[in-house]
Amino acid sequence: MGTSGSVQCFTHEQWPYEPKFERVNGWRMHYIDEGAGDPVVLLHGNPAWGFLYRKFIKPLTAAGRRVIVPDMIGFGLSEKPVREQAHTLDGHIANLTGLLRQLDVRNATMVCHDWGGPTGLGFALSNPDRVRALVIMSTWAWPLPPAEFHKRIFPWRMMHAPLVGPYLLGRHNALAGRGMYLSVVDRKKFKAEAQSVYEGILPDPGSRLLTWTWPRWIPLDGGARGLARFEWLERELRKSKFPTLLVWGREDEVFDYRTFATRFKELLPHAEGPELVTGRHFLQEDSGEEIATKINRFLDRIGGKQP
């Protein structure tokens, strides 16, 4: 199976971390592994990579935690398959499972955002003996519909329509560039600090395949791929007792907190939050340090430490 855009190193003043690689589920996966203590696994979605969590890592490691940040296969420094058929929701859950079992991760806190939600929750619910707690941000875990936004032709369905997706998101890298820019609050800061990093890590059209493949995995009707897995996620999540913290961007108009955090609260009545921060969908960009502090306090509380 061919791959594209196989960048294997990245140097940046905001990302001084040693790249690590493991072969998981047949693919080369990049991750960083910093600090020591109970692990916190930070999971990104489309079209991001570990860099999204750059402001989380020091506060979490300074608090005595091990921080693992994988790049999903198809993003960041991980291998990038060039065929859409290489990507499935179950496959991505298996990729993450492969990495975390190889690292023998136990007592983990899974921090889930965007497609890091269905994949990270999929891991947690199928490996409950390895997971201590959940932090859930701007994502979903049920079948239909994810949001009104995802049912509309303009811009969502048009953006990833047949041939349009490979053109707009492939040739023009629209999601990693303009798409992320539109999904933060402080756009000026994002453009100066991070936009070129997200664009540059997907250097060629062939390296951007997953940016239009993931949108096609969002179930929109009863015949959709992945529907059964989302039904399972909802069913199992409702039964789960993991201590959970919900963190949401106040300005998130796609996964708006009134709809999505409320739905998670209904599934997980014991969950704390939602704690609202400044942020649209990519709330880590606007409120990274603040969210890391909230995670530290949450983990201190469930670990019995006084705040």
């Binding site: 032709i153 303009f154 048009m158 329509a161 047949p162 041939l163 349009v164 053109y167 707009l168 096609r216």
Partner: protein, 133 residues
């Protein structure tokens, strides 16, 4: 914007094929597959020949239809530019041609899919072709 024209028997002599766009899942929205099936009589022609179109720049493009066991045909489409054999592509021209191809496709798919929404999506993502549409 000049229209896309379907052509039957382009001159292929002294041309080469350059892959410029690939779609692995044309039936993600089944009406897109149906458009290509009707437009190029794929129920009858199957894999026997590509579809050919001429784009605004004058370049001819071959649409190669991909079959995959267990999936309705076509499952994928590869779009190839057909430049003179030893000449490099003009990237900006190809980009504009592909945008015209997408506009033609969306108009042909029809129903809830409107060329105006393609243009609006292009403008949202600041494509120069959409801005001039």
């Amino acid at each position: 914007m000049t229209a896309i024209h379907v052509i039957e028997n382009p001159t292929l002599e002294n041309k080469r094929r350059v892959l410029v766009l690939a779609e692995d899942r044309v039936g993600h929205y089944p009406e897109f597959r149906e458009f290509f099936v009707k437009q190029f009589a794929l129920a009858a022609n199957g894999l026997s020949r590509p579809g050919y179109v001429q784009a605004p720049s004058g370049m001819v493009y071959a649409l190669v239809f991909i079959g995959r066991s267990g999936e309705p045909f076509p499952d994928g489409i590869e779009v190839y530019a057909l430049p003179d054999a030893l000449e490099p592509l003009n990237g900006a021209e190809v980009d504009a041609d592909l945008w015209a191809l997408l506009s033609w496709m969306i108009a042909g798919v029809g129903g809830e899919w409107r060329a105006e929404d393609l243009d609006a999506t292009g403008r949202l993502y600041q494509l120069s072709m959409a801005a001039s549409a």
